[in-house]
Symmetry: C2
Subunit: 103 residues, 2 copies
Amino acid sequence: MIKVSVFYPNAANGRFDMPYYLNKHMPMVQQRLGTALKGVSVEHGLGGGQAGSPTSYLAMGHLLFDSVEAFQQAWGPHAEAIVGDVPNYTNTQPVIQVSEVKL
Amino acid sequence: MIKVSVFYPNAANGRFDMPYYLNKHMPMVQQRLGTALKGVSVEHGLGGGQAGSPTSYLAMGHLLFDSVEAFQQAWGPHAEAIVGDVPNYTNTQPVIQVSEVKL
């Protein structure tokens, strides 16, 4: 299993519309990616490790797939629509990481 | 539900011993935190969003708790033992983020 994580950095004047992300963007992503998408999770950043320290990311979204190949095949035809929706909920520059799920 | 994410940056000459992390560190964390710990996940970074681009993090570990207060109460008495084990599996400086699980 692999996880595609999208990190939205806590930049100065960073905006992230969590209701839009949860109610519009993620359902669209799920509909587009279909059965290749094995799971979804979303987190809202509260803070860093020390009390009162800033969060690294305003939000994170994670998508699970069986393999990197399954992700690429499912993502390719819909990349433009999915990426094109990003400015509707954030002005930050998302950072993407592909990981192998170990536990 | 809240998630405590520990990110291990992909630094120059960064070392991360995944077998130690999975077989020694995480079981110790689970034993120390007990029933306050509601879930655990671990990922190994493969790459960035573009083919061939570097991963942001060598590895990530995530711990689930019912609330920030439940995390702090469970973590406090064991922080020294848990943090003290970090040099046994990595030379990177972990970055911690506390997040609210939305989905």
